[in-house]
């Protein structure tokens, strides 16, 4: 079971959180102008890397805040947590 450091509540057990998929997939500004293929990229296509993954979590059973996590999908090591909208911290790149 992972131990995730909520930026607000501190380290908590995985079961208090929900996973929100890959981070930094912003809603396209002018969605209507995108062609179907570009829209499909936004909707469905994911990096799904083996290794360092930037992803979103929400502290469902805690403060209900969303935040981003840098996690290695092969080792499960968490390198950093950071705020939504922010860039991942330098040392976790």
């Amino acid at each position: 079971m992972l131990r995730i450091a909520c930026p607000w509540c501190g380290p908590r057990a995985e079961i208090e959180f929900s996973y929100g998929g890959e981070a930094h997939i912003a809603l396209p500004e002018a969605a209507d102008a995108l062609d179907d293929a570009a829209w499909a990229q936004y909707l469905f296509m994911r990096t799904n890397p083996k290794g360092r993954h930037l992803e979103r979590w929400v502290h469902t059973h805690g403060c209900r805040r969303w935040f981003n996590v840098v996690r290695d999908t092969a080792s499960e090591r968490i390198a950093a947590v950071y705020q939504p909208g922010a860039e991942p911290p330098e040392d976790a790149r």
Partner: protein
């Protein structure tokens, strides 16, 4: 069924006691702690500054402010009428981007205390409640069994108050009583 049972069963064993607390005013308060107007308004009504740190609670004569999130608190009062407190907060917060929402009927509060209280929580709460990690006056939202709860440590002994959503209260009560089972036969806690 369990509605009644909850009132009847003040469980008193050597290691643990569990009881339902009378309804109290609970207000969900949202706002921006970096906005001095917000802080001031809340202070003017409650005499308390909304804590900005996770796990923190502020308690005064009128009310307590339990931290729920970086922009969310539970204002709790056993002495003030909920509607009145709400109105005063809304009044004070006029013109400030904030939200004051009555949620007292949405919560049931249980008091859990005694030397085995931590053992009981440990059966379904992943939080570390050891005195080195969690102290009187602190509060945290977490899981108890399969439901979200807010745990507030109110005493050293230790004593806690557990806030649970109304429709999950029967479950939480049954859960607590079951978990406490082995400590109710008079045996001492560890």
């Amino acid at each position: 069924m369990a509605e009644l049972a909850r009132d009847d069963r003040l469980r008193q064993g050597a290691g643990i006691s569990i009881a339902e607390r009378p309804a109290r005013a609970c207000i969900d308060l949202r706002g921006d702690v970096t906005d001095a107007r917000f802080v001031h308004a809340v202070e003017s009504v409650t005499d308390l500054r909304p804590p900005s740190q996770g796990l923190a609670a502020a308690s005064g004569l009128l009310a307590s402010l339990l931290w729920l999130g970086p922009d969310e608190w539970l204002v709790v009062s056993e002495t003030q009428a909920s509607g009145e407190l709400c109105a005063r907060l809304r009044q004070a917060l006029r013109g400030v981007h904030a939200a004051v929402t009555e949620v007292g009927d949405a919560r049931i509060v249980y008091a859990v205390a005694g030397p085995n209280a931590r053992d009981v929580f440990a059966k379904g709460c992943p939080l570390d409640l050891h005195p080195r990690a969690f102290r009187p006056g602190q509060c945290a939202q977490t899981l108890l069994g399969k439901v979200s709860v807010l745990i507030h440590q109110v005493g050293q002994d230790p004593a806690y108050e557990v806030y649970v959503a109304r429709s999950f209260a029967d479950y939480a009560w049954a859960w607590l009583v079951t978990a406490a089972g082995e400590y109710l036969d008079g045996s001492e806690g560890k």
